[in-house]
């Protein structure tokens, strides 16, 4: 989970609540190419579990890392195919 990676694109969904962080992350990752990493910035506490669940339940993406900051939850999702 702590492997080095470059962030290709950042999606700011601060303020948005369920289901929007996941739904917008899906649209954003569709724009990326294989191997690229999407950073998702969210304030929804449910996003920690939801982005994890989405990344493990969906083909072609993987969760690289998650960070729980004071106000912002950061998620890093890589496109794998």
């Amino acid at each position: 989970m702590s492997a080095e990676f470059d962030i290709t694109e950042t999606l700011d969904v601060k303020g948005a609540s369920c289901p929007m962080p996941v739904v917008k992350a899906k649209s954003a990752i569709d724009e990326l190419s294989e191997g690229e990493v999407l950073e998702v910035l969210a304030t929804d506490p449910g996003s920690m579990s939801d982005i994890d669940g989405w990344a493990s339940g969906t083909g072609g993406i993987e969760l690289v890392n998650q960070e729980e900051g004071d106000d912002v939850f950061k998620h890093y999702v890589r496109k794998t195919e």
């Binding site: 609540s17 289901p19 929007m20 739904v23 339940g57 969906t58 083909g59």
Partner: protein, 190 residues
């Protein structure tokens, strides 16, 4: 037994050619069955049109689309109001029949109380930055969710096909919904 010749089967045993054909047939069936697993499907039947009950089908539909599911939501009876462009912006929350409401049912039944509780809920939705029903429908449509409006209830409610959001499928009935459910990995009635 060293004299056995594999090319000379007993009378009732299948020939080598028959076995090879059967293997080909099974391999084709296997390939078809495995490829079907790639595309998961979800089918939701939405029957309710109150503000609170409009959310679950739309949240699950858009989320499943984000998981790559092929999603169909079949709207019938009051569920049609969710797809009705004008009525969807004006869905109400019932103040009676829900003991979790902050007012007793006897008070909640007074004229105008549904309007009060609806305003309260709309304010909470806005304060919490929760998506509106319209936003969820537009997002779901963009993500490829198929919304179907049940033809029998469109006629029953006296709605017009043009009343619904662009992209909503009309002219469908229970058999269409049943076929979708039979093909789906997840089926829900809301």
């Amino acid at each position: 037994m060293g004299t056995d010749t594999p090319d000379a089967p007993a009378d009732d045993a299948p020939s080598r050619a028959e076995l090879a054909a059967r293997v080909d047939e099974l391999e084709d069936a296997l390939a078809e069955a495995t490829s079907d697993d790639d595309g998961k499907k979800m089918s939701i039947i939405a029957t309710k049109g109150t503000l609170d009950m409009a959310y679950p089908p739309l949240i699950l539909a858009s989320t499943a689309a984000a998981f790559g599911y092929e999603v169909t939501v079949f709207h019938t009876f009051w569920g049609l109001d969710i797809l009705h462009e004008e009525r969807s912006k004006n869905l109400k929350l019932s103040s009676v029949g829900n003991p979790n409401m902050p007012v007793p049912n006897a008070v909640a039944a007074l004229p105008g109380m549904d309007r009060v509780t609806t305003k309260m809920m709309e304010k909470k939705i806005a304060d919490n930055d929760t998506a509106t029903i319209e936003e969820l429908i537009e997002t779901s449509l963009d993500m490829g969710v198929e919304f179907q409006a049940c033809q029998m209830t469109i006629d029953l409610m006296d709605y017009d096909e043009d009343d619904f959001y662009d992209g909503v499928t009309t002219g469908v009935g229970a058999a269409t919904a049943l076929q979708d459910m039979a093909d789906s990995d997840i089926q829900l009635l809301v």
